[in-house]
Symmetry: C2
Subunit: 473 residues, 2 copies
């Protein structure tokens, strides 16, 4: 017995031990773990081996992003990419390939720039934030007030009037730091600022600014809001600390146009016994309007697509339907995920599991899951089948933006967990290009999603739904 | 005896053992290593401790680069920075502070851009190479031929006529890869290309292109030459590999103006016994016209300056003169180093040692040295005094660009060796900003240079000259 086989057996035994108490309470719904492991070991290995045998997923991703570039909601490149994907899916022989209409926000960046005009003149690396209003023609030139937090802005509120407030908040974790991208314009407007700047939400920078969406509220004026590079934010902060009084000119011609038509892309492998029960997996096909959106999230989209294609190629048609969905408009609206929920509301109770990859197709470690405990036990058993490639761990809670709406209705859901070291170096920036991903790591993601989706769709017992709302992230 | 003291003694003993045969041949010139070590231990510790006691070197560097920005030869910001530095040196109480005139090349970038126009339109991240000619008004639009080497260009010479040749050469080491930056335009012109592009010479990229100088020769037409980001080069290469035929529009308005006046900055601590003998140390104060030139090489310049200031502050006036020189125009002409040689030709034989820091003030490991063996043995003894901070290693060969001209005349010379992991991530790009350097690491560089310069200037025996030419790198 080799080491890998031993560790598989140990993993299965461990899963059995963990599951034992739950199984006692829910014997009729939960399969015996060791039986599940044994039943699917060969098919899981086929999927893994086929995924790792070549770099076809990466090649397809490269063709997609090099041919169409980035894909912001409302853009021609997004719709062209969707047309191409649907055509390729049909050529692949996937079933029920179609698109589903979604009206999406249509924000366009236009010409934009930021310049330090005093104490010296120098260009500032910037990207307007998605949804921001424009500056007046001719821009806004004003002294900058740099603050390190909302608390500091509150303390220095009296200094903010008529100035451009820069939030220079060092990256800690995304969830924490991104609060300033979401709420910075409103907070700055409340204290009388004429515009706002944000230190890019990034864990490593080579002066590449990072965009992303922001929001306004109805209580204060909408002021222009842009991200500047980490380096520029630090420089402006140092200038202020030295007693210099940096002045910046900000020019933004952003526009929010009427909502535009877009589409979710759908393809299936219909189930052999229970075609009305569905495992849905996917990523989002839209991106920001910089770089190629290769990591965020063409990679996740293509990985999900290739996972389903792999089943077809190996002749592994599961009992339930496996459905790949490439959602549109995750970045600035989540309209794709909402439209999927609305268009499929009647069949939501038939959704056995929802899987999304939206953290970059880096080296996978498993999934982050939310759903009932009995479902958690079941997906942990399935995940043990990818232990041999290091991606057998299921943590909680979990989920992703596009599957959030159906998870809120009780569908158990999971996001692919990957090595996050470099994600926020490239995220929403010009650096999000194909070369940041690795063919082997992407193949590992394909394998991990394929095994999870296939077994969840094929195993005799269905994964149980949770309670509506309670399962929301 | 603590561990650090023990390692110091061991280092000294080892140095003595290594030195023994040479000492036998040159007893009258070489001091006894253990005596040198013992004689300077306390003063070396004072310099090290003072350098590490605060972040004043880093603060000064920050003031310099934030106030003046980048400093290309011929620019106002370079001359303003030089004025400010000379004034600060006088305020520091350094001696014989003055500037020495140097005529420098005056290349200006102007407006420039590159755009993929087929198979789709997309901006390409680029920086014209220093010295490049402009495109005609309206730019050059042509299909691209991507090659991976000069050899491939030769094989595909017939395909190059009328095209833009892109050298997509992955970074191996600088010396190897930079050959394409230097010679790419000439090689491409020889086979009839209308312009040339270069994959940036960089070991890690977030789509930040890297500039640097290029050259022409008299045998072929001067064609425009620009660096593109690593990401863009890889994308164009992939497109070609797929059978697409990428077409690029290149626009460059670069100009080479008549030579402009600049200056080397000089300051001294005059020797107490042999003031005519000189240890010179420095960096180059000019930079490329992107980022802040903080790493390359304001950091080395300020570290050398602060090393001399440290001696003054501690009352450590050496027997010989210690001279800090901030050379101008290292980047695109080395005119500062040549002018220093020419203006000081008569006293070159009195130069005991030349030290330059031009690899970024990252964590130092010691020096890379070229000079006679007897000189090598002496500087290795001195270097042992900085073993306690990890920077006691002297390797061969060594030197730097600005001290090259006097090294060619026989002056022993050394470059500061540092952790090079990140240097070619930022080098000659917009990312070369203050935040890439660390206050403590910079202080270690100051300490390392201060100890080497002070002891070389103060030790009873002088470090011997080499033979002219033979000592050249």
């Amino acid at each position: 017995m080799n080491k890998a086989s031993l560790s598989r057996l140990l993993a299965a035994a461990l899963a059995a031990a963990v599951l034992a108490p739950a199984a006692a309470h829910a014997q009729d719904r939960v399969v015996t773990p060791t039986r599940l492991y044994a039943a699917y070991r060969d098919r899981a290995d086929s999927l893994i081996d086929a995924a790792l045998a070549d770099s076809s997923a990466y090649q397809r991703l490269g063709t997609l992003v090099d041919r169409f570039g980035h894909r912001l909601s409302g853009s021609r490149s997004l719709e062209d990419a969707i047309d191409w994907i649907a055509a390729e899916m049909r050529r692949d022989g996937l079933e029920n390939v179609h698109t589903e209409p979604v009206m999406v926000p249509h924000w366009v960046r236009g010409e934009e720039s930021a310049e330090l005009v005093s104490p010296r003149r120098a260009p500032i690396a910037m990207l307007g934030l998605g949804g921001s209003v424009a500056t007046p023609a001719g821009g806004i030139t004003a002294p900058v007030l740099v603050v390190g937090s909302y608390e500091e802005l509150e303390r220095r509120a009296a200094e903010a009037r008529g100035r451009i407030v820069l939030f220079d908040v060092p990256f800690t974790e995304y969830r924490e730091t991104v609060r300033y991208r979401g709420g910075g314009a409103v907070a700055a407007a409340k204290v009388g600022a004429v515009a706002a700047l944000l230190r890019s939400v990034s864990s490593g920078s080579m002066r590449n600014p990072h965009t992303g969406s922001t929001r306004y509220d109805t209580t204060v004026a909408r002021i222009p809001f842009a991200a500047v590079s980490v380096e520029d934010a630090m420089m402006l902060h140092r200038m202020q600390d030295r007693g210099d009084r940096p002045t910046v000119k900000l020019v933004m011609n952003a526009q929010t146009l009427p909502d535009a038509p877009s589409r979710n892309v759908v393809a299936e492998l219909r189930g052999s016994e229970r075609p009305n029960e569905v495992v849905v997996l996917g990523g989002h096909i839209d991106s920001w309007d910089v770089g190629q959106g290769a990591m965020d999230d063409a990679g996740g989209s293509v990985a999900a697509w290739q996972a389903v294609l792999l089943m077809k190629k190996l002749g592994l048609r599961p009992r339930r339907t496996v459905r790949v969905v490439l959602w549109t408009n995750e970045e600035n609206g989540t309209r794709g995920g909402l439209a999927y929920r609305d268009q499929h509301r009647a069949e939501v109770p038939n959704h056995v599991l929802a899987i999304e990859s939206d953290n970059g197709v880096f080296k996978p470690s498993g999934f982050a899951f939310s759903g009932p405990d009995s479902a958690l036990f079941m997906v942990r058993q399935i995940a043990a089948l990818t232990d041999r490639i290091g991606s057998g761990t299921v943590t909680t809670p979990g989920g992703e933006a596009d599957i959030g709406p159906i998870m809120a209705l009780g569908v158990p859901g999971m996001g692919l967990s990957v090595d996050g070291t470099r994600y926020f170096w490239y995220h929403h920036s010009q650096a999000d290009m194909l070369d940041k991903l690795d063919p082997h790591e992407m193949a590992l993601c394909v394998a991990t999603m394929a095994v999870m989706a296939y077994v969840a769709a094929d195993m005799p017992e269905r994964i149980p739904m949770g309670t509506p709302q309670a399962a929301a992230r």
